[in-house]
Amino acid sequence: MLETFAALGNGFALALQPDKLLFALVGVFLGTAVGVLPGIGPALTVALLLPVTFKLDPTGSLIMFAGIYYGGMYGGSTTAILINTPGESASMATALEGNKMAKAGRGGPALATSAIGSFVAGLIATIGLAFLAPALVEFAISFTSADYFALMVLAFVTVSATFGASRLRGLTSLFIGLALGLIGIDKLSGQQRLVFGVPDLTDGVEVTTLAVALFAVGEALFVASRHKAVVEKIEAVKGSVWMTKEDWKRSWKPWLRGTLLGFPIGALPAGGAEIPTFLSYSLEKRLCTKPEEFGNGAIEGVAGPEAANNASAAGTLVPLLTLGLPTSATAAIMLAGFQQYGLNPGPLLFAEKPDLVWGLIASLFVANAMLLVLNLPLVGLWVRLLAIPQPWLYGGIMVFATMGTIAAKPSVIELGMLLVFGLMGFMMRRFDYPIAPVVIGLILGPLAETQLRRALTISLGDPSVLVKSPISITLYVLAAIALLAPFFISALKNLGSNED
């Protein structure tokens, strides 16, 4: 406990240096500005802005990243409230009530409760991260390769198969990602895999290229292909942005409840902020003293899900930093950001680079505070960004997507991948395949393979090593439950309704 305070103190000493504060400020500003654009979620925000940080030192760039992450989250909820176009599924619950509030002329309080709720949730969840992480690191240090592999299998299953419309499509997406992760030189044997004699492919597929292609190019193709693209009306921010006494009274409990739902679910290797936001939405609906307001702009329906969303975003940093395990598309791209500096998040990073880790955690507090101060006064500016006409918006998105790829690697193959994966993202949207499992499969697949082969090498090829420790057995059981539970639930329902 005391060590955590000391470490966090050192982190703040680093994060509060003027140049680091500037990085955090630039990150928060850029993150919000890009995140507020309709159709751009936090994952794409981080992927688009990654090239900007190429020439910075690792600490500065990761601090900027922390700001971009939190800023992108905040920008997304502004969009959800004002034009009912959630940039990501986790903002859908916010859009339900938030947009109704904006239509009823209460956009100001909706933005305020979302900003303050995000701050409260971010604060509590970051404290949770600071105290949970060292404990988890101590536990993770005893993990063997077989245990790590089991953990990754669990993450694969929960990320792709547990939530979402279809397990078949989720697992297919995951395996597409795993297949793309095979491309390049195998680290352990030096053997080329799926390179087909193209030298550019020996380095493998860049996570940022894939993410930008799937999220930005795929989305642009998809929107362009739907001719009757509806232009959503932007609600003007009417009235004061300040909340009344009653707004405060109705908001503070949903903030705390949302945080309590969001942080643990985010911190589990389960992935996705959608679940806690929708849980929070239905919880608030049930607890609300004025349930008739739900569906017409109830402030609880904004306060709770927003807090849950932010808390789970901070929660996903727990497995990312302590285990190197990304459980969301955003976390996967953050992991790629770490890797670009040769840093591998996990228990060792806490021991080897405590400055960097704790500086990053302290920067999350700083970024969170900056957002609260920046966003409400600047809401007029964000609203103006929302007013960019759709053709120019997507033109800009395409320019920035391409620019990032060219700046990272100016090769024809790389741009060709941008186009090919963009077309793949387009088809995936058309056929309703989830995107995030592809990105997670690409980055986590090679790590899982390394652990698997390391474990099997130590055991001289005996596969029983994979299920020898209680940790790995528990993890596999959890993975099996996560994979099969929806099947049993639907079977039971089926039995009840006797459909066929």
């Binding site: 078949l168 193709l221 006409p389 120019w392 100016p410 941008l418 186009l419 697949g445 393979e449």
Partner: protein
């Protein structure tokens, strides 16, 4: 694997051809991965746990999901798709294609971004190609200046960029 079977059955009488194509693409990808793994020559050390094992698992998974997808196409597992307007998507792809071409032929960054912005804007239904091209050129130029002068990253040069 049959979770959508219960909820989303649409009662479609004819198989969904698009979904069948997706399934076949997945099976083809599996075959390519399997063939690539098969042609690796391995030192005996790697015989059991070498670089072939995981590609084979991945290929197996993709093949299984591909078969299930084809099966699902006949059972109506997949949601109905909206009508699409291919022209819009073609404009976006053409813009990106031109960018690739300009990298090969050294048109330069600004020219590529001009075309990309104008094409994408056209794809979204705007019909002011020259105005949009001018906006694209302005964005491309400012991005070029910020990236090369401020962030010291290099971007592809063409006739225009070499004057700056």
């Amino acid at each position: 694997m049959s979770d959508t079977e219960t909820g989303l059955r649409t009662g479609r009488s004819s198989p969904d051809l698009g979904v069948i194509a997706v399934g076949i693409a997945l099976i083809t990808a599996a075959a390519v991965i399997y063939a690539d793994a098969a042609q690796m020559s391995m030192a005996p050390l790697y015989a059991k746990i070498g670089p072939k094992v995981v590609p084979q698992i991945v290929a197996g998974g993709l093949a299984l999901f591909g078969l299930l997808t084809v099966f699902g196409a006949f059972r109506g597992w997949f949601p109905a798709r909206e009508e699409e307007d291919a022209a819009g998507a073609v404009w976006v792809a053409a813009g990106l294609g031109f960018t690739i071409l300009s990298l090969i032929l050294h048109f330069g960054f600004v020219a590529a971004m001009t075309a990309l912005f104008a094409c994408t804007s056209r794809a979204m239904g705007r019909r002011a190609f020259l105005v949009d091209a001018a906006i694209g050129a302005a964005i491309g130029l400012s991005v070029y200046l910020v990236f090369t002068k401020l962030l010291s990253l290099s971007l592809p040069q063409g006739p225009l960029e070499s004057l700056l």
